[in-house]
């Protein structure tokens, strides 16, 4: 889609301004229903698009992403723009600088339409924990779009944006991509700078693109990846344009099928979609290899120890002093006699939602004296063994294929009363974050539920820093007729 728009822009069949206006129009028309956006930056979008048109008028060459309208998850800072992470804690927070990914997009000339809804501080699998209301799944408005990057996924699936950025700590790009029938890529840990991303769990978080096609995801990914002195975990500079390496061919590619990802948690209908997809991979010339990732069963409990532990430290900065919200709600404190501790307790009580409080407390508990060895240390050991599982598997195969999520999009309220049911949504995605490997979710079929065809995503996981093979395989699958 991006390439076609780019050709039209170059040929002056359309202008970047008219493209921006068209997408702002779609947002106007649809977003009161869908609720993908928290902030629409129409003025900035139009002036940025106008600059692209001036460039074209001057006969200058433009990049593939120039003038292409995209959206950004509201946990990434954009200078001068309200950035909330969907929390009351940051209700009035205006970001003082651009996240590196935002500055990359600006340098590429992309048109930024606005900031999208999400689970509060990216904690959730349905976008229901946002302090600013629901985002509906564009395929079926009675269902969740997935989470935590539900707004970004819904913006792309509804046609409001051509692409969007999300962040993925345990599946928050891939699961909503699966639920909304689009493509979502979580890059290798350290591939994309996290500078300016409001941190959830710093050793797991990674920013990546949503798009309607694998090629579009590759185009966006190529422009946000690379070394950044502001994020010491970024290790490699990137001048590769991954969209130029999508050959459409996967013959001879060795694809691992991990038996642990086809457990009883998997919806039977999703299983049957998966079986058809596996047959199709084989018919495209891939060599299927049965593999085992034996430590998979410990991944989810290890994730739900490591992630909240990092959450409890990262969210300590929200103190009721520096980031907009300040609450002193008891009478005796109003006269100025309160203490600093009371400022913390009250501001955080008011500013954080239920799930955020739960995870901060879980992490505080897991890291406290006496429990550190029993929980955190053990979870880190599991994490290393999961990494070794993948390392061993990748000696035998090039990529690994699994379902993205155990089921298609579920109705609102379905899991909000049962924590563990919600946490199970991440069962097939957390391993890639724990190991730090790249993984993509792309549409592989649908299941029929109550008269609606709900999308199902397949996940391809690759070797560290080998997004190229993951993208190439997903693209070959997608473009096979």
């Amino acid at each position: 889609m991006i390439r076609a728009l780019h050709e039209q822009l170059k040929a002056q069949e359309i202008t970047a301004l008219s493209l921006a206006e068209k997408h702002l129009g779609v947002i106007d028309e649809k977003d009161s229903e869908i609720g993908a956006f928290l902030t629409v930056t129409a003025e900035e979008a139009l002036s940025s698009a106008a600059r692209v048109d001036e460039k074209i008028a001057r006969g200058e060459a433009i990049d593939l992403l120039e003038g292409i309208p995209g959206a950004i998850k509201d946990n990434m800072c954009a200078e001068g723009i309200r950035t909330t992470a969907a929390s009351k804690m940051l209700d009035s927070y205006i970001a003082p600088f651009d996240a590196t990914v935002v500055s990359n997009l600006k340098q590429s000339g992309a048109t930024i339409l606005g900031k999208t809804n999400m689970d509060e501080f990216a904690m959730g699998s349905s976008t229901e924990s946002s302090a600013y209301g629901k985002t509906k799944n564009p395929i079926d408005p009675t269902r969740v779009p997935g989470g935590s990057s539900g707004g970004s996924a819904a913006a792309v699936a509804s046609g409001e944006a051509v692409f969007a950025l999300g962040s993925d700590t345990g599946g928050s790009i891939r699961q909503p991509a699966s639920f909304c029938g689009i493509v979502g890529l979580k890059p290798t840990y350290g591939r994309v700078s996290r500078s300016g991303l409001i941190a959830m769990a710093s050793s797991l978080d990674q920013i990546g693109p949503f798009a309607t096609t694998v090629e579009d995801a590759a185009i966006v990914f190529s422009r946000i990846a690379g070394y950044d002195p502001k994020d010491v975990t970024t290790t490699q500079s990137n001048d590769k344009r991954f969209e130029n390496y999508l050959s459409g061919d996967m013959s001879g590619l060795r694809i691992g099928i991990p038996k642990e990802y086809f457990s009883e948690n998997l919806d039977k209908r999703v299983l049957s979609v998966m079986e058809k997809a596996i047959e199709r991979l084989e018919s495209l010339g891939a060599i299927l290899v049965d593999i085992s990732l034996p430590y998979t069963e410990y991944a989810l409990p290890a994730y739900y120890i490591i992630m909240p532990s990092e959450v409890s430290s990262n969210l300590a900065r929200f103190d009721g002093i520096r980031y907009g919200l300040h609450v002193d709600d008891r009478k005796e404190r109003m006269d100025g006699n309160g203490t600093l501790l009371e400022t913390y307790l009250d501001s955080r009580a008011y500013g954080f939602g239920e799930e955020v409080k739960r995870r901060i407390m879980l992490g505080t508990y897991a890291l406290s004296a006496g429990y550190y060895d029993a929980y955190y240390k053990k979870a880190q050991a599991v994490r290393e063994l999961i990494r070794q599982d993948f390392s061993e598997a990748f000696k035998k195969v090039d990529v690994i294929f699994s379902p993205t999520a155990p089921e298609p999009a579920f109705p609102f309220g379905d899991k909000t009363q049962d924590l563990l049911k919600m946490y199970l949504s991440d069962i097939y995605t957390v391993t890639a974050n724990l190991a730090g490997i790249p993984a993509i979710s792309f549409p592989i079929g649908t299941v029929l539920e109550k008269g609606t065809s709900l999308p199902v995503g397949g996940q391809l996981m690759g070797k560290w820093f080998d997004e190229e093979t993951v993208l190439r395989a997903a693209h070959a699958y997608e473009t096979d007729k």
Partner: protein, 95 residues
């Protein structure tokens, strides 16, 4: 299940004020997730130290020098702080 006192203690460590209702709810919720953690009890710790998941690389360091931060940057940072006095951040006394 976690006791009322345990949840209250964790909440203070986490700097989160809780109402009595919330304490009761988190007793139940946190206990449910902690039970889930117990699945790791079946897992035997490997003998050697294996806790290094983030690949190590040499630390990036930079020269320690003062860089001029643009004044509009200072303003936008300060504007995010609700309690200010004479260009400083105002906080409550520690005790």
């Amino acid at each position: 299940m976690l006791s009322k006192e345990e949840v209250e203690h964790i909440a203070v460590l986490a700097r989160i004020g809780l109402s009595d209702d919330e304490v009761a709810r988190y007793q139940k919720d946190l206990s449910q997730v902690l039970d889930f953690f117990k699945e790791l009890e079946a897992f035997d710790m490997p003998p050697e130290e294996t806790s290094e998941s983030v690949p190590r690389k040499k630390n990036d360091t930079r020269e320690d020098r003062v860089e001029n931060f643009p004044s509009h940057g200072r303003k936008i940072i300060m504007d995010n702080m609700p309690e200010r006095k004479e260009g400083y951040v105002k906080v409550r006394s520690v005790f």
